[in-house]
Assembly symmetry: C2
Homo-oligomer: 220 residues x 2
DNA sequence: GCAAAAGTGTTTTCAATACACCCATGG
DNA sequence: CCATGGGTGTATTGAAAACACTTTTGC
């Protein structure tokens, strides 16, 4: 086996959460060259003294101000831009954060311009960011039909209309409110917390949480 | 961004086909150390002068004797074994070959001991091969429910019992023959070729092929 | 003519769909 | 009391499930 050439490894982080039923991804605005002022997925060079996971957790701490979230190593990508003598391989990673954790993040410690973008409307990205992000969203739209995964996004205190909006994004079509509720309830995977949402106008929505022992099934 | 340390890149290839309805993966037997005489996923060091795709196509040509098959870059994996001063990152790739192509492979040109293993019964693998392979199989069980992907495995001249066996593997449960046929036929995605299978004992099965324009839907 | 595997139809059951009115809150 | 969005029930439709006998081939 020929293992002659040396590569640099760049870890790329796609962090996802849900807000008001919309799937969101965290981007930051670059302040230096290259791609100055472009939005970008958080990224960092990998060094020998850290694992993928540690490198990614550090990034999440730095960009989101949260510790201990779910992460999953995702695809590798080639860098088609860099010169021949400085080849980089991108290792992308997906992080999933529930909305409550995002809400309570240590925002005062984030010294970057970061923003959660709707996955259906995101700006032009630095590097090959769009390729990476689109690939992640494709994967998540498949994976987030499974209860184990969706549970990571909605840990407690979500409303059914929020979850319906989310499922509509994942499926790419609109759903009937009564039928959606009927279906979710028949699966026996969530329960009322007893509280009600204080957000927005109109009748307050009941709050739900996933049950402890949720069996792994496909929602759709 | 710190891009200080150098890594070697090892491309790992998971090649999959279907034989008599069983999902199979290609392994080869190592003849040298380390892991001498262990079965292993084909792999090769990556050098500057080739892309992921070219490196993988070369491997497929070398191990399978086939050109121009579908490939997809998959997850990156860390190497937990190698010493600190020679770190390797594994970039795994999935290849999908239809059974007819495998049958007509240029077998005389393969100078390795290779074998197609059932994905439900494979041997102990060299390196972190089991982690990589299990991850690929998980992914494929999700992805192979979609018509576009399944079509890559069954291009022409397959029987419905074969396809049923395959779906049973993917779903992990057995299906009723009559109901299976009814469902597949109602989807309007395959058609009879007019020929019959010559394999096995009993009444010969009709041969089918996917239609040209198959819409992307989930089978289950 | 017998063993082996493929092909076929009908009934039942359950889930998905379609659809309209009332309820709780804020202003 | 009105605007806003949330919650609820029923009838219909369609797909999934359950189920047993006949057909084609090789030997």
């Amino acid at each position: 086996m020929n293992l002659a050439d040396n590569f640099k490894i760049k870890m790329i982080l796609g962090t996802f959460t849900v807000d008001k039923g919309k799937l969101k991804v965290l981007l930051y605005k670059k302040t230096g060259e290259p791609y100055k002022n472009y939005w970008s997925l958080p990224n960092t060079g990998l060094s020998y003294d850290v694992s993928f996971e540690v490198a990614v957790k550090k990034m999440i701490d730095e960009y989101v101000g949260i510790e201990g979230i779910y992460t999953e190593t995702f695809r590798a990508f080639e860098d088609k831009e860099t010169a021949l003598d400085d080849k980089i391989v991108h290792v992308s990673t997906i992080g999933i954060i529930d909305s409550a954790s995002v809400y309570y993040k240590r925002v005062e410690e984030i010294n970057k311009e970061v923003e959660w973008f709707d996955v259906d409307i995101f700006p032009k990205l630095a590097y090959n960011g769009e390729e990476v992000l689109i690939s992640m969203i494709d994967y998540l739209k498949m994976k987030l039909k499974q209860t184990e995964m969706i549970k990571l996004l909605f840990p407690s205190d979500f409303t059914l209309p929020e979850m319906q909006t989310f499922c509509e994004t994942i499926l790419g079509k609109s759903l009937d409110r009564r039928n959606f509720r009927k279906k979710i309830m028949s699966l026996n995977i969530i329960e009322e917390t007893g509280d009600k949402s204080l957000e927005g106008t109109g009748r307050p929505a009941k709050l739900y949480k996933f049950k402890e022992d949720v069996k792994e099934i496909n929602l759709f």
